[in-house]
Symmetry: C3
Subunit: 257 residues, 3 copies
């Protein structure tokens, strides 16, 4: 019932095969009801997009649905009959934030959560559904603050905004999520799938909107302004120094000084 993902501190999302394999396994299992995504490293939940240019096939590969592989994977996660729960500790930024936004539910450590969409501070913008899923969850004003402010959000603020379902004291997070996951897993798979499908009908963004964001994100990667900011971040230690990787959004407003 539980998928554990180990994430080394400075490891980044170079390609989507890890995501893709998990979702493919989810859909292939006839008895699986619930998947909980957690990290073996309490400081880093899942890494952001690779900014060194080693993006592998992430911008070009196409999934079974005909959509780009990253979108295809996230969309399949949202439509899967299997329920996905993100149990969040540590840093969850950029495409990782978009991964948890594609999960069915999000529960965060009150003391240990750094959740955000820092792309705009790097001269880019979210391209994996953040700009499409956040407004429905938190409203336009808070979505614009998250996306344009490019800051980290702690557990309490993420809960207040509806970015996560709720923040729990770190010591209670595991037992809460475990009880909820086991509870749902005890229910009838057909009833779960039918209910989730009905909610999806009135709450998922359209593929058109997701594609627009993905295509526009691809463009921003080529902008000189973005390249300059990315280089400044790499020079300061991004994807190389664990300490900097922990708090780098804090320097985004002085990046070019």
């Amino acid at each position: 019932m539980t998928e554990t993902k180990s994430t080394a501190p400075v490891r980044v999302i170079e390609e989507t095969s890890a995501y893709w394999r998990v979702v493919a396994r989810m859909d292939a299992s006839p008895s699986l009801c619930v998947v909980v995504f957690e990290s073996a490293n309490p400081d880093f939940y899942l890494a952001h997009f690779d900014l060194t240019g080693k993006t592998g096939n992430i911008m070009t590969a196409v999934g079974a649905s005909g959509l780009p592989i990253l979108m295809d994977t996230f969309v399949r996660l949202t439509k899967s009959p299997v329920v996905s729960i993100a149990k969040i500790r540590g840093c969850v930024r950029g495409v990782s934030s978009e991964f948890v936004l594609a999960c069915d539910m999000r529960f965060a450590s009150r003391e240990n959560t750094r959740l955000g969409q820092p792309e705009v501070g790097v001269g880019l913008h979210p391209g994996g559904g953040g700009t499409e899923r956040l407004p429905h969850l938190v409203g336009r004003g808070r979505a614009l603050e998250i996306v344009l402010g490019a800051n980290d959000f702690d557990g309490d603020t993420a809960e207040l905004y509806g970015y996560v379902n709720r923040a729990l004291p770190d010591a209670e997070l595991d037992s809460f999520v475990d009880a909820l996951a086991r509870r749902i897993a005890s229910f009838d798979r057909g009833a779960i799938a039918a209910a989730k499908n009905l909610v999806n009908q009135v709450s998922l963004p359209s593929a058109d909107r997701l594609l627009d964001a993905f295509t526009s994100f691809g463009n921003t990667l080529t902008w000189p302004e973005a390249q300059q900011r990315i280089q400044a971040l790499l020079d300061r230690g991004l994807q190389r120094e664990v300490d900097f990787e922990t708090w780098w959004p804090a320097v985004l407003d002085t990046l070019l000084e």
Copy 2:
């Protein structure tokens, strides 16, 4: 201005004539501005769907709009020029939760509220608008937690999620709702109706979506898995023992053990 509904503990919604009569009276009154729905029994606000099979005409009767009678009633409540306020104390589950979701506003006792959609834990799913109205109110993640977790929500959590407008200390609930209802009732009925209509244009689910959920709910009632869970609940005392009726969602994850 105030409609008081008395609900015996283990009485269930067998047919919709009570609902229907109230809404018909609301629409027929040329001077009525506000209706407050409260329960004379502080432990039970309104009962869930009858699970003994005595569903009367609820799945087959058709209302004035051509929609099934339950949907027709809830939809008329949302579109009525009369403002509806649910003042919530005690257990409010399943179709009762969907009734308060069809009301214009919801205020809950902070200490004494057990609000939820337990259908999925019974092998069914919400069929009276819960899956359509909750995502707009609380966002997709919290809607899926409410619907798939099939748990009770207390006043504080319901307020945090936006499931209710706000939770108030039980001792202040009556005076707060009374003041708000009398305030609105002092305003011009034409201005109220015009304003509610404008809000409705951007916030009500479509009849297509509501019909899909209702039809799918009818199907789940025939599923053997649902029948098995329903029988287990009836064996344990559902709709028979007041004590069990108070906390039965707590056993849903061990129902078939």
Copy 3:
């Protein structure tokens, strides 16, 4: 980066030239990234619609988009590549509430905020986007409470409801908003504009809906019931006495007694 607007206590919105000029200047500046709207008077942020009949050209003038000038201005504000932040202290009611709802973000003084849509209590209804923008931000139930209850909301409740992004202690409001505005202003203008445009695609109301509300508002202004309530408010001191202007929504439920 910061626009300061001084608003005399009993000064009201007679015409939209002030709004219009600011938005025109925003769009004309090739380097401007962020505008913060604040009031030099801590008791009044911005005034409500003129109720003495001196509405100037506000109901008849047409903006560059072909929409009525007030709508045109608010719509341009939402679609501008420049980011708008409302820093709220004091009274913000009616069309002023609709102005801050058209801003990209809203931050309010916890101790000193009186935010609301009192129109229905005057026999009118919001006509500048309130009924269209609030349901997306706060959900249908809370939107109906705000619009039909016609009451003031303090900082804490506005934050709980999502009416504002967050409420901050008054002593921290300036430094918080200043830091956020300077942070965003340090980012690339193209990235900001692209990200805001993506969020807008899934969060802005349609022009059709906004026009319906504006047209209906124009009708309510001619209703005898509204004229009677407006006269009663003017007799009591509206737009004339600073003290009454501070708390007038409190008397709306006894206006005709």
